[in-house]
Amino acid sequence: MDTIFRILRFDPKKDEYPYFQDFSYTVEGKRSVLEALMDIRNEQDCTLSFRYSCREAICGSCAMVINGNFDLACRADLGALKSSTIIIEPLPNLEIQKDLVVDMDPFWEALYRIEPYLHGEDAIPEKGHRVDDREMEIIFQYINCILCGCCYAACPVATRDERYLGPAALAKLYRFVRDPRDRRAFSNWSGVNTEGGVWGCDTVFKCNEVCPKDVRPADGIEALRRRLVVEKVKRFFKRGR
């Protein structure tokens, strides 16, 4: 039996509004949503646009909403969806450039704002840094982030407040703050002590729920909050002395 792919189509240069278009698709063998989209593009409508690259859930290109769930299309197995109609929509909360391709710039710009790179020493340490493996394991949770944008698109705060940095950028900040090799000053990141930063989070944990890589960005946000409080207290007592 054929599966119906109901795909959101929109070309802002031509269309006034987005609309759904149905494609009938015969599933043969084990196919992912991404492979099905490629088949539909190849055989039925070569104007259908979507992003993809690695097809193994590591590059972060093909995040979209599949039957209401945020996922990477390459990872979503058609058989497992157990559905005769599959509704495909682009990530919400980001402008559609064409069909399933969205403008990721707000997401990237939020990331740039936290200075997402190691603030190391000027000289390269001879024979490398000495770091406890346990320290590395702690940041590994956040390093698994592939910056696919699912969390940002699903976050209710990012939807209503464009100042909010969003889960991925804040989790990335924690990855650096927690890295024993990072030398950034407290003043470098204390700017997130705001509603646009860590206090913006509603703690509804939508980001943890939708993350296809189990990064749990909200853990990072919570940890940053605790650090901020500890640093503030430390500073208060230092001043008092």
């Binding site: 070309d11 084990k30 193994e56 790179y117 390269i124 001879e126 490398g128 000495r130 493996d133 590395m136």
Partner: protein, 565 residues
Amino acid sequence: MISHDILVVGGGLAGLAAALNSDPSLSVAVVSKVHPLRSHSVAAQGGINAALGNNPDGKGDTWERHAFDTIKGSDYLADQNTAELMCEKAIPAIYELDALGVPFSRFPGGVIAQRPFGGAGFPRTCYAADRTGLVILHTLYEHSIRKKVKFYNEWFVTRLVVRNGKCLGVVVFDLASGEIIPVQARAVIFATGGYGRVYLKTTNAFINHGSGVGMAYRAGVPIKDLEFVQFHPTSLLGKNILITEGARGEGGYLVNSEGKRFMEDYAPTAMELAPRDIVARAIQTEIDKGKGFENEYVYLDLRHLGAEKIKKRLPGIREICINFASLDPIDTPIPIQPAQHYSMGGIDVDRDCASLVEGFFAAGECACVSVHGANRLGGNSLLETVVFGKISGEEASRRVKQIGMEAKAEKILLEEALDQKSRIEGWRRKDSGIKVHRLLDRVKNIMSDKVGVFRNKKDLAEALEEISIAREDYRNVYISGDCLRYSQALVNIIEFESMLDLAEVITRGALNREETRGSHFRNDFPQRDDKKWLKHTLVTFEDEKPQISYKDVQIDKYEPKERKY
């Protein structure tokens, strides 16, 4: 017209390393057909080699031993002084990556951890669990943000423009606007990756069509050693997703349908950690003998490593198995088969990453410098990207200062852009013909069936014939529907011409080379023949067809010997 001193094409590891190491006083930009973090480098898993000697079993390691292993692994086709250069620079390169923030896994005492890998005399592969490509790519991208590198993302380069032995720039298809844009550059560095998708079964990303190598070839730049195609022993049955060599480095077994660790018949000393060409052939031989499962696969068994080690050292592999094969390697062996993995051949460049064309450089998998020769060792590709990416940026910066802007460059680039546009219009005007993906499927099947792990004269000659039929059919391809913006269909149609060229060059090189060396195995010529074939294949596009010539291998220290593992 958009103009830069140095234009880097490709935003993977080699491209980012090139941009980061270019002279900041020059105007440098990176053009990439995907966002840089979506590049295939991100999928590298097991690690990056350097003779740090951090592993308790690897105390006596030196970069010279690393170079020797690399040369031996290459079946003596690597240029020896170039392999030495890479292995010597490996050590400072790792410390630099660490200082930039790459979160390498650690040993007790805090030093960078190292695991054993195939064909290596010492455990010298540095890693971050099994996500080494991801962490290095993200780190270099982070520093590109810091250094405010100029990126043109989702710009697909459609041709390289060369006149009178001099590089003038490129023509680009901007996916977001659907427009064709000429870009002038005094130096162009290609870091466009490999051409795995020429094959049906490959570990490569969907985007690895190899059009960079193809464009350089069409522009008259010689390409080298394309017949040497690496087949990775362990790709996941079905989707052919890479299962890292690190899985065997951590102690995984390869087992046939009789439950036997069959590598003892092929490489009794190195066992599962023999070089990839040997292990891939062993697996294919077992399957062909009927000792596989369903005539398709054997097992990679990790169960004896235990849950803790698998979760700590191979979490990405576990995730891939669960997501894409619905099995957990903690309690089920992984069904695997060989699949195309890496392109040893590529654009012919020297140790400075410079080609014969003034102002044109190449680095990473798209280049052939040549450090991998006939077979690359695991852990050496990430190394090549950072070492030669850096060299290409530095060399292009040094040389570009002596290269003036060609007076007629703008005019020529505009003409090339117009020509590109009219070709696209030609495909769009037609309302019937052949859809390019059908041709693509045909070529992939030919390559996997006839130019694969085992080769012979008859198959190769047939493959050439079928490729030339596909080339005839390519004249009749068309695009239906009116859309240029974000048209992946258009990108595919343009890239397919490169794929035809590469398929032809791989096959011709393989047909000519009547010997067996590294990854190139001829059933009809099963011995290595140093007398006749210890040389690089060079192919140049001249008079509208490939012209083959040969070039000596640099041998200064190690006399070629039979490889035993």
